[in-house]
Amino acid sequence: MNVLREMAYLVVGVPLLIAVVLGLGVRVWGRAAAWIALLGPLLAVAVGASSLEGGASGSVRWLAAGDSVLTLGYHVDGLSAIMLLVVGVVAACVIVFSIGYMHGDRGYVRYFAILSLFTAAMSGLVIAGDLVGLFIGWELVGACSFLLIGFWYEKPAAAEAARKAFMVTRVGDAAMLVGLAVLWRATGTLELSAILGSVGSLAPAVVTTAAVCLLLGAVGKSAQFPLHIWLPDAMEGPTPVSALIHAATMVAAGVFLVARTWPLFEASPEARMVALVLGTITALGAATIALQQTDIKKVLAYSTISQLGFMFAALGVGAWPVAIFHLVTHAAFKALLFLTSGSVIHGSGTQDLREMGGLRSKMPLTAVAWIIGGLALAGIPPLAGFFSKDEVVGSVLAAAPWAGVALLAASLLTGAYVARATRLAFFGPVRGTGEAHESPWTMTVPMAVLAVAAIGLGFAGPSIAAVLGAESEPLSLGLAALAVGLAGAGALGGWLLAAGGGAYENGFPPALTRVWGAARDGYGFDALVNGAIVRPMAALARFTDSVVDRQGIDRVAEGFAGLARGVGEMFARTMTGDGQTYSALLAAGAIILLCITMWLVR
């Protein structure tokens, strides 16, 4: 097993190679593509499992400019091992699930090639031993996310969503790059161990600047307020992709980044405060939005944003092992919920909750899987979400009571939106027009695997904490009872909210819509961004195009061209075609040259 972790870089190399091979032969591989792509995640699981007990690292000189040397290396420790396991297991489940879900799609092989590339990039991100490799992986997962959101690129909404996701996360990535530059300037290296070891000798202002910049990168990637707007749109991609990239792994990379560079945040209370405030706002705000969505995937998208907010809040109070614990359990139950919703969409042909209803009898396995995922998300014991969310709320409540209370409110809303979506989709009268059917085994087996994880992972809390080198918090019974009570009350409320079913125009009682309708559109944040940023930028671009470019630069360029043409035409007029004139001019020229020469040698 030692050999495996010494060769940890293979978890990047193998899927990368597979991605290239599949990508070059999109017409060749056919149905075999999925099984080939499965190798990468399985390798990640193997390496992750073998690295739980001990780490490994290595690096190569990548490039040198003068005295500055960039190294590229891997560093596997407990945190990487846990992330590798999460990435590997979820990716494997998603790939198998996709065999059924993507069956017959025109881009079948392309799909698995990109998934394989994603596996490589995400594994590279988590095993990177320096910020260079981490950033490369970070950007590559972003690129894969772009490619997969826009997978059905003929659909304008998908292409638009892909661009939006790319641009919005780019804002965070730019900040992250600045953070890298600050660290490089201050320490002269981007190796994680060297940077984290020298945090104590850096000026507090430098540490805070770097930490806040890295945090902004994480905020963009993890869709935290105010850069959360891309994730709901990202649901235009295939549903298994949402499960893998936009629920379990890539969006959690922000949490991983903060955990990875924890000494920076430990030394900077300001950065931690930013994380706490943004996380709390996001957790509560996104939960209220999720409550009013009618698209089953958007419910899950806002739920993901909200749960990531929980993790950021935990990071903000310094409980990073707890945040990672919640990351792990969330990866399991949210991937499960997304796969289930994929199964629902596959089986019923719609993703509008108002057109579902009564699917319980038609799709029993899917319904059970959804309910397991939903209970885990709501934090009902003894499922996974209960333990991790309880630890998150407990640590936040202890350090910052106001944020803890907000998270408790978010827990209440979590119960509500889960119950509402469950009732709308699986209970009540059948409203759909299409004939719903249960999905094939390739789709139900991955759901079963994740369901087992969603049930059992909660008990792995102490082990995860041990691997991360932290103490596991003992459960506080009073808090647990309170949280479960709130979740239950929320669930009851959500259940009642869904009573109207598809009768209401937005699946929400009109009386409540009047009071709280703003949440339906995400509090108009999209419109605000459009008005405040996108439209002024577009206007600026148009101004640059018409005034600066066409009127300015083009005019100057055309002016010079016109000048050259004018001079040419002027001299062209001397070319009369008359041989006599030419010879006369020739003679005149010779005489002038003669005069000049004589004057020069005078």
């Binding site: 007029r573 009369t576 075609g577 008359d578 041989g579 006599q580 010879s583 003679a587």
Partner: protein
């Protein structure tokens, strides 16, 4: 000194003929006269300056070149005559 003066005279006569004559054969002849002037100058130079005997060789080579030039010039001239152009002011195609 005499040969220098003679070279100048040859050059001037040739140039005068080139500029004033319209007859294409006369123009060609004028050019040859100018070339003769230039050649004479070169040869005279080599005679008056020590260590410039190479110029005499150059003169001989250029004489051969002039013969070739005359052949090309006459060929062009024949082509022009075939198109009915015997005077330089009838040549108007060479223009921008």
């Amino acid at each position: 000194m005499t040969s220098l003066a003679l070279a100048c005279v040859l050059m001037s006569v040739g140039l005068y003929g080139l500029l004033t004559r319209r007859d294409i054969i006369a123009v060609l002849a004028s050019i040859e006269v100018m070339l003769g002037g230039a050649q004479l100058l070169l040869a005279a130079y080599s005679a008056s300056v020590t260590l410039a005997s190479a110029a005499q060789g150059v003169t001989l080579i250029v004489l051969a070149t002039i013969a070739a030039e005359a052949a090309v010039g006459l060929a062009l001239l024949v082509a022009l005559v075939h198109r009915g152009r015997t005077r330089t002011d009838q040549i108007e195609e060479v223009r921008g």
